[in-house]
Point group: C2
Chain length 118, copies 2
């Protein structure tokens, strides 16, 4: 048990040392220091979160909202720092998903294979 | 990076060696070999899943459904093996939540503290 906690701490350190984490950390700091980029990203995140919450609650998203989200996405994608940040988030997210799959493998011996994602 | 994957495999092994995992594994096998317990547990899981899906979709749960769930819960709680299994699941779930908190600590350096749970 305490060994599992020790191993989790070692994994945490290894994760923080990955190029993917370091790059995300660095991009986040650059955006934080850039008021326009920061505001653009905040607005985009807020819009995304609103839409996600609606979807989770089964609320129909209007054509107008979908269009607005698409436009905002195109806008932020054209901002180099934000675009790089979103790529870096995607890469780190893949790693964390992989790590979680590895760690929870023992549960498959109990519950069987997890349902296929996406 | 490959170091993070190595560490995840080490953590997986450590998790599989915990008393909590072994106990859950053992209880699951015992229930699997007991047709009545297995069926009871399956029915209960199915009911739980139905209610969870309704809640996630924002569908109001009827008084009757809530009562039925409560009755089923009391029924399975009185079954010694199932009751032990649910306790063991709860204990392992606490550990896995703790491990995940540790592993994702580096992300707090980027996104700040996660919102308080529950
Ligand atoms: Ca600033
Ligand atoms: Ca059987």
């Amino acid at each position: 048990m305490s060994n599992a906690y020790d191993k989790a701490h070692e994994l945490k350190e290894a994760l923080a040392e990955t190029q993917e984490f370091k790059s995300l950390y660095d991009l986040h700091r650059q955006i934080d220091a850039d008021d326009i980029a920061k505001k653009m990203l905040e607005n985009f995140r807020k819009l995304q979160l609103d839409l996600q919450q609606k979807q989770m609650q089964g609320v129909q998203i209007s054509e107008e909202e979908a269009q607005q989200a698409q436009q905002q996405f195109e806008l932020v994608s054209q901002h180099e720092l934000i675009s790089k940040l979103m790529d870096a988030e995607q890469r780190l997210s893949v790693i964390i998903t992989d790590l979680n799959k590895i760690i929870t493998e023992p549960l498959e011996r109990i519950y069987g294979e997890p349902p296929q994602e996406q």
